[in-house]
Symmetry: C2
Subunit: 282 residues, 2 copies
């Protein structure tokens, strides 16, 4: 039976040419969020859409998805376009939309994807994986909220995270820990990690303002960027093993906050760094 993740990514080609294409798919209840689909699955659909195009060069390097509006349960259309191909890099743009019966198309997602060829060269890290206990020694997060798509993941609380009950009290933690969230994650239903799944996992964190303020308020990602540091071989090496995901907020102001996050393989290999701007009420 096809994995729920791959079911959600299934595309039917409506039109395709060397410069892009249009593809149809439909929302999948296993990935429902509070309103519409989990943002991570929409990001994965965009990555998958570009990757399956015959003209794709290399592997994903940089992804930005903007969540322009909610998606209703049902059919969507993904449009991808190849803006430029260089010797070793390539630039795609995409848009995902839905058409109401008899109405104009609603844009759900806009974004860009850069892909390319990596070269063997000097490498290093200025952001080493933090020292946390192994996932086998840790329990799943005890969150005061449960949202459907979260069950798609096997999660282990490694540091920070939501309080077990809403306190409605602002955390007294120092700035560097006030919104810090550290989790081991893997697919609950085993599936080898790939670029689309890594993009999806980058959206794993609950809105940091919930942790910071100890309360459940309306919040949702409006833009997410992912920089892929892993190549296909590094992802293959992970397979379905646990990955460490760490996030913290930087600034909350005027109804928007941002988050900076990292995902590492268990051996300390950086897989992706990712950032979000998140709408919130408080």
């Amino acid at each position: 039976m096809t994995h729920a993740f791959d079911q959600a990514l299934q595309l039917r080609t409506l039109q395709q040419d060397p410069q892009g294409g249009r593809y149809a798919g439909q929302t999948h209840a296993a990935w429902d969020n509070m309103v519409g689909p989990y943002g991570g699955i929409l990001a994965a659909i965009a990555v998958h859409g570009a990757q399956q195009h015959p003209a794709v060069l290399g592997q994903p390097l940089a992804l930005t998805v903007n969540y322009a509006g909610p998606a209703a349960a049902g059919v969507w259309e993904l449009q991808i376009r190849l803006a430029r191909t260089n010797r070793s890099t390539q630039h795609w743009t995409f848009e995902l939309g839905q058409t109401e019966a008899g109405g104009a198309p609603n844009v759900v997602l806009t974004g860009t994807l850069m892909s390319g060829l990596r070269r063997p060269t000097w490498g290093g890290t200025d952001m080493p994986m933090p020292d946390v206990p192994p996932p086998e020694a840790l329990a799943p997060p005890q969150d005061p909220i449960s949202i459907g798509w979260r069950d798609r993941y096997d999660l282990r609380r490694a540091g920070g995270g939501l309080p077990a009950e809403w306190t409605q009290v602002e955390t007294a933690a120092a700035p560097e820990a006030a919104s810090l969230d550290q989790m081991w994650l893997r697919d609950a239903d085993a599936r080898p990690l790939d670029f689309a799944a890594l993009a999806a996992a980058c959206d794993i964190f609950y809105p940091r303002v919930w942790q910071r303020r100890g309360g459940h308020t309306p919040a949702g990602t409006v833009s997410m960027t992912v920089y892929f540091h892993a190549d296909a071989l590094a992802l293959q090496a992970v397979g379905n093993a646990f990955v460490l995901a760490q996030a913290r907020a930087q600034e909350y102001r005027g109804g928007f906050f941002d988050q900076t996050a990292q995902l590492w393989a268990r051996d300390g290999t950086m897989l992706a760094t990712t950032h979000q701007l998140v709408y919130y009420k408080s």
Copy 2:
């Protein structure tokens, strides 16, 4: 006389309708980089292009620019498109290109801009401004390299940064300081800070790999994202005063590294957080 920054942003409307427009402009020698224009000025052109459109809603919130290819000295064309307008947010896409004589258009820049209305609400920071000496007590960076556009800024070295001479030796600093760069900056030729200028300033840092490795190697930003935390009032309050800019790299691998950075007003107000993926040879 018009400021060199505003000269570089001058647009001539080729076509405009409620869903977007096409505008012509030209590269400006004051903003030359090693190859083509400074990436920051291209980001500023995109922000300005959307902001001057009659349909714009609110102020810039999130910007992603992808540097798809080099721009030659001369004329360029900016195309902007309004993908979706919500009650309080709006999503734009843009592309900047150049057409060779008798040839097809070359895409130089792709990207997205989200704008919107901020609301008075609870705010806070998890990334306070670091404690550094005031700019008046500090000297300009003593860099082993000089690039034209850098002279557009009055810079003061506050921490980290390039060595005064290329050492060709990898830094022995701890990971959190190995690529840390802290600078006060303001326009050398006074001009009030606005969204376009803030976007440009987000690209102020030399490639972090130069600092990390003590050597000058080919490197260039391929994608940059900016989250604007300041509103127009906060920018007005800055005027032409110094702004603190801080950056550090996270991961260098396979010819691409990423950078995470913050810009604060002198009173500690976060103005923007920003991230880049940068191509490098080493």
